[in-house]
């Protein structure tokens, strides 16, 4: 855990006590990262802004539930933001067509946030080496689902496989990934 993340955890603690200044500072330090995650999943600007707001309201309300012994503050916040964005994408009535969406397959070294990378660098290296043990199309499915919020149906269209097959592939790939990660 780096120095900056310790700072975030102090700000989360203060937010849990109802300190609005600490929460505002927390927003300043993390909103670009959370918005980056949300924008990939929700290309529509208005939806993305709604999801960002919902995510921060949850962070404020649940700050006292954050447990530093179970993971980093930024990881906890990113998980809340991602869940919010995926909920909105799944509930969204006007389904965005995955095929018309730009597939962003940039690698982390091109554009990642160096500080976030530092926090997660060891676990990131391990995750990538485990992902690389999967066939390429399966790696792509997992990354498209995680980064861009693609559903089984959307993956089924792009990879030209039935939805039920996609479900089986995803679950098998995730279990293989787990075995690899937990063995390390």
């Amino acid at each position: 855990m780096n120095k900056r993340d310790v700072g975030l955890e102090k700000l989360l603690e203060a937010s849990a006590r109802g300190n609005r200044e600490a929460f505002a500072r927390l927003y300043d330090l993390t909103s670009a990262r959370l918005f980056g995650i949300i924008r990939r999943i929700l290309p529509n600007a208005e939806q993305a802004e709604d999801a960002l707001q919902e995510a921060y309201v949850k962070i404020w309300q649940r700050a006292e539930l954050f447990r530093p012994d179970l993971g980093s503050g930024i990881g906890w916040m990113m998980t809340i933001a991602r869940n919010q964005a995926i909920d909105l994408r799944r509930r969204s009535a006007e389904r965005m067509s995955a095929l018309s969406e730009e597939v962003d397959e940039t690698t982390p070294s091109d554009d990642a946030d160096p500080e976030a990378l530092a926090v997660h660098s060891d676990s990131m290296t391990r995750l990538h080496s485990c992902l690389q043990e999967l066939p390429t199309d399966r790696q792509q499915m997992i990354v498209l689902a995680y980064h861009q919020g693609w559903s089984r149906e959307e993956l089924s269209q792009r990879f030209q496989r039935p939805v039920t097959t996609i479900k089986t592939i995803l679950r098998r790939s995730l279990m293989a990934l787990k075995e690899c990660l937990d063995a390390a």
């Binding site: 670009a32 990262r33 990113m78 926090v119």
Partner: protein
């Protein structure tokens, strides 16, 4: 559900590929099944390095104002604090009681754990729907309905969330102004859900959670 099925469901929930209905089921399971909640947390940790790779995008400037406005508090709470102080000033205290109280407060030298708190239960921007005042020391809770409208065939139910609870605890129906009693720590969040008339049939929130509010110290 078999342990392997729980594990697979947790993995796909965290990956994000469940459909809307499956996600809702997974969230209900997350609240009720500890093993599932642990499996979800482990999957979040396994995959979260992928989230850290995403390029940051600065949100529009107005979002900061919008979000800080949405978390409540601010002017609203300052106004309430004054009100609470007025109520307190009005209650005439006998010398002996005041002395006893002062002694009690000095003896309990952890002021943030004592004293009165308010929670403003409100949606995004309209005024407060309910205001709860909580005396953590005595456990007394008073709820006033402010702008929430009575709804035919439905009841508002008050819940205590967090503060060491694994699940929300019902504090009763709040269809009018209500006084009740519960042990609440200052890190408890109060929530109001809309339930069938007479309250939740299951003992857990079943309807939409309409309002939530943190306890804010009034001194």
């Amino acid at each position: 559900m078999l342990p392997e099925e729980l594990e697979e469901l947790a993995s796909e929930y965290v990956l994000g590929t469940l459909d809307a209905a499956e996600r809702e089921e997974a969230k209900a399971l997350h609240r009720s099944d500890r093993n599932f909640a642990v499996a979800v947390r482990r999957w979040e940790r396994r995959l979260v390095p992928l989230a850290a790779e995403v390029k940051p995008v600065t949100p529009p400037e107005y979002m900061r104002r919008r979000i800080l406005g949405a978390i409540g508090g601010g002017a609203e709470v300052i106004r309430l604090k004054r009100q609470v102080n007025v109520w307190r000033g009005l209650s005439v205290m006998t010398g002996a009681l005041a002395a006893a109280l002062t002694a009690f407060m000095i003896w309990n030298a952890k002021p943030s754990e004592q004293g009165r708190y308010v929670a403003v239960l409100q949606p995004d921007s309209q005024g407060p729907a309910f205001i709860a005042t909580v005396d953590v020391a005595s456990g007394a809770i008073t709820v006033r309905r402010v702008l929430a409208e009575a709804q035919a065939g439905k009841s508002y139910e008050l819940w205590a969330v967090g503060g060491g609870r694994a699940q929300p605890e019902s504090l009763g129906l709040i269809d009018g102004d209500v006084k009740t009693q519960a042990t609440l720590s200052p890190d408890t969040v109060l929530a109001v859900s809309l339930e069938p008339a007479g309250g939740s049939p299951t003992g857990q929130p079943t309807g939409p959670v309409l309002y939530t509010g943190k306890l804010v110290a009034t001194e």
